[in-house]
Symmetry: C2
Subunit: 144 residues, 2 copies
DNA sequence: CGGCATCCCCTTCGATACTG
DNA sequence: CAGTATCGAAGGGGATGCCG
């Protein structure tokens, strides 16, 4: 997706940090830059319009394509397909196709994908709690 | 890679924010429709390319525009401006301009913006821990 | 120094139609 | 049922230039 674009990135220059002080990567400058890259790539994967919602929807059971389509309001067939392919490629969900008529395909979180559930919950918690404040701040800002 | 050091990949790192007992909201294992919309909302705000990185960079001190530019590798002047405006509009950061020559502008997290730090931390932890696994899975998927 | 404004490419995503 | 193919609108985001 947004991964491979033309990023100039001068190799001679050692950048300063975006994330020094965060647990686990406060040690050196190079790790900080790696952390920044990693975060951006993860956001590119999971920060898109539907990925995290698909993950959240699959948190309990394996679901069929059409079930996912029904459980996620507003998603189009095309976007569900594309999102599922990305997640499968990244090892976050598994796809199982049964050779039946009519065909049946089931999707399921992998162990790796399951580790994203706490993130979905954290984001969901924050959004439910603070969305009204954001709306309020925004309308005040726009009032000028 | 960088992820193998430090923390031994504990997947559940749930940060308890100040919203325990938030009126009308209880944290549950369920990610229902409201939470789904909430996830979509916050991802629209903060799931873009730079917002979370700006938040993380401001987590300690107030910083000037040029300092932010230096601390966030790869961001363009234009995108930093746009990101800061949006964060300011949503009440997540505050902007203070000093009438000096040369001009000086400082950005700082608001209290609301500060509540995003646990999210940045959670995502950062996950990214560092699992980014290598994703890259690996992706290359295997592509090799077929 | 701290920005807007402009140009323009590229990606994302929805709508629609078709297939095994 | 579970996709694939194609088109087109919308906007994200880099490069550059100008300005208080």
């Amino acid at each position: 997706m947004a991964a491979a674009k033309g990023t100039p990135m001068s190799p001679t220059h050692i950048e300063e940090t975006a994330l020094a002080g965060f647990p686990g990567y406060e040690s050196s400058c190079e790790i900080d830059e790696d952390a920044g890259r990693a975060i951006r790539e993860v956001l590119d994967r999971v920060g898109d319009k539907w990925s995290l919602l698909v993950i959240a929807t699959l948190r309990r059971d394996r679901l069929r394509f059409s079930e996912l389509l029904r459980h996620i309001p507003g998603i189009s067939q095309r976007m569900l397909t594309l999102t599922l392919r990305q997640l499968q490629r990244d090892g976050l969900i598994s796809r199982t196709a049964y050779a039946e008529v009519p065909p049946r395909v089931e999707y399921e979180l992998t162990a790796l994908g399951g580790t994203l559930i706490p993130i979905a919950r954290t984001i969901g918690d924050w959004a439910l709690a603070n969305h009204p404040a954001i709306v309020e701040s925004r309308s005040q800002y726009d009032a000028r």
